[in-house]
Symmetry: C2
Subunit: 402 residues, 2 copies
């Protein structure tokens, strides 16, 4: 523990100095602020009363964070057998959780049946494979409403040419097949994209889904007990992006969601993104190029999506931006580039930078590329710091190799 | 072991059926053909006599493969402390190996000094940091010759705006500083890109580097004992790409390389790419979309570089291509897309596909994204198969988490 006076110039995570945390645990380092996670879950609970909130484990699967999130009484959104296993072990209530999948293996299907988790199937062809493991009490299928949205093309998962979901015609056949198989309870699932700020888009999506739901209910004489609207709630990364007013968005959803079914949402990024910071040290100052000890192996979003992350000089976050830098990592390819022409204060070797909004799709997408072993993870609870994952050793890298 | 009759219709890896290997070990699975690795190393030795060949560990760091490659008497090209540790433990001769780095940490520099490995520094600013750990016998700096080349922008690592190397003016200052520090033996390093087939480019590069070398030798009255020309030897991935005639390329190099220094090359991809195959099962046939159990977590090159890999129906590799498919994985984002409109034979659930040329920048870039634990790796030596890395278990995923 470090005592940090309130007038410190250094960036704080919780009530601790980011620089002190970096020195204690070494860099690069993933750090999470527990209070932010709790606040985000509370915001969702307040905005979406009487809703089944399922945390999308794919955003961050750190086991301590999973246990923490499970303790808040929310369910889990799992996408395969490993995530279902982790969710159960972390204490998520399986009766409130969902298995939302694309191209599942038979092992995934078998596990879902064993756990009795609500199953969202992505294609009619998967249903007969599921029946090998028994007939589920409830079944849900994923509709592709014919449109999608996303901050990047890579995370727009709706519309034509998408690998996700079924058109209404196939969807209707899937429910007919399920009904014929003796299933009597039904859900409906949609998820069309990520990092969406546009309330009108969500409104349009809800209306479209309810239209489709009504047509299927009428034509097949079934009732949907659950409607799972996925997620996609935007989180601000860039200057000029404002946080969603979750309270207002909840109202928009409630106004549009006129169906008596239980609403399910699957937020992942919204819960964990802003809680997470990567602390990284400036190793090299080479003219305009600032070499960091974090890399595309630590955080691949900039390389993969050209995603923007805020970079803050943790030693003095209020210092004036006077320089324009290229922020790069130690990996031997040009892809390992975090930011071009980024306005920053004058930097020097040994400075600690905070890569903010790194709690979602950060560690889960990390690799060991270029000898970058997995970094440690630390949880901050106000003035306390807890190591929740050790940095990998060479021994860890060799484990399982024969 | 499986006995495979010679007239099998199935794809073979070594002398074994790829389908049988997939069934024995499960999919997705990385499989390497030992004989191809040995052949590629022999090709390089034949084409580059009296050359220090350093295998670039970043291409594939499987420990069994490292030991196999070390046994062939080649050195290692390492980029950080972890790779140097692995190289030493795998039995590479450190006196023949190089540490080629960009933005190294102090731990990297300390380890390089401990091992007495030839050090290629990327910037003059790193030299004083190195001296904290002693004065090396030899020092080498990396020049950016002002141009670069690569199949993708992401792997072009030369030219203006590159994070790699120094311009000639800075380079000259770096050698002057090293000479002042009492160092008497020098090397020179260049590496400007990857997957290059163009012999003329290599010729131009060698000439340019020797011009720079001559000017620095004259102005500073030093001699280069080693010149490290990196690598970048092209490997065919796509239809229409022909393999490099390594014998001829060696001649081109020898003709252009008129300097008495010892030549060093750093091939990685060339040695391992073609030895590697990912075996993956078709889980879902959804119209034009073929769902596989391999994903962007298994092989990120298509998602990251839009890279082409050959996909072969292992059950019947000679079968006529009659369909046009989108080949996708189980990860819940649109990025998880291997190939669009790929001509293939008619596919069905349970088919085994071989993703070829996956031995380089495959497993090393893998992640655990979307609950995809690391796959197993198998080495084939003619008619024998060896498990060289176990598939990760849930227990492995939780190890190190506190």
């Amino acid at each position: 523990m470090y005592f940090i006076p309130w007038d410190t110039m250094e960036l704080q995570i919780g009530k601790l100095s980011a620089v002190a945390i970096a020195k204690k645990y070494g860099t690069p380092l993933y750090v999470y602020d527990k209070q932010i996670i709790l606040q985000k879950i509370q915001d969702l609970k307040d905005a979406f009363p009487n809703t089944n909130i399922c945390y999308a484990i794919k955003a961050n699967a750190n086991f301590t964070l999973l246990k923490l999130i499970a303790q808040q009484g929310v369910g889990a959104d799992c996408c395969n057998v490993v995530e279902m296993t982790l969710a159960k072990e972390a204490g998520f209530d399986m009766s409130k959780s969902v298995f939302t999948t694309v191209n599942p293996t038979n092992k995934d299907l078998e596990k879902a049946m064993q756990l009795g988790i609500l199953i969202n199937l992505d294609d009619i062809s998967i249903f007969p494979r599921l029946l090998q493991y028994g007939t589920p009490q409830v079944i849900s299928f994923r509709v592709n409403p014919g449109f999608g949205k996303g901050k990047f093309n890579e995370v727009n998962v709706g519309g034509e040419g998408s690998k996700f979901g079924m058109d209404e015609e196939t969807l209707s056949k899937a429910y007919a097949l399920a009904k014929e198989s003796g299933i009597k309870r039904f859900g409906l699932h949609v998820h069309t994209g990520c990092i969406i700020f546009d309330e009108e888009y969500f409104q349009k999506l809800v209306r479209k889904v309810l239209e489709i739901a009504a047509r299927i209910e009428t034509s097949l004489d079934i009732r949907f007990e659950w409607i799972d609207l996925g997620s996609g709630f935007g989180v601000p990364y860039e200057p000029g992006e404002s946080p969603i007013d979750m309270h207002h968005l909840g109202k928009v959803f409630r106004q549009a969601f006129t169906h008596p079914a239980k609403l399910i949402i699957e937020p992942g990024r919204y819960i964990v993104a802003q809680s997470g910071t990567i602390l990284t040290e400036v190793t090299t100052v080479k003219g305009k190029f600032i070499g960091l000890d974090a890399s595309m192996a630590t955080l691949i979003r900039p390389a993969l999506y050209d995603a923007y992350h805020p970079f803050i000089l943790a030693n003095d976050p209020e210092k004036e931006n006077t320089e324009s830098y290229n922020l790069v990592g130690p990996v031997c390819e040009t892809t390992d580039f975090f930011a071009r022409d980024r306005a920053m204060p004058k930097l020097q070797e040994g400075n600690i930078l905070a890569i903010q909004v790194s709690g979602a799709y950060g560690f889960v997408m990390a690799s060991r590329y270029n000898g970058q072993s997995f970094p440690a993870e630390v949880l901050i609870d106000n003035e306390k710091d807890f190591l929740i994952r050790k940095k990998e050793t060479t021994e860890d890298l060799l484990r399982g190799q024969l």
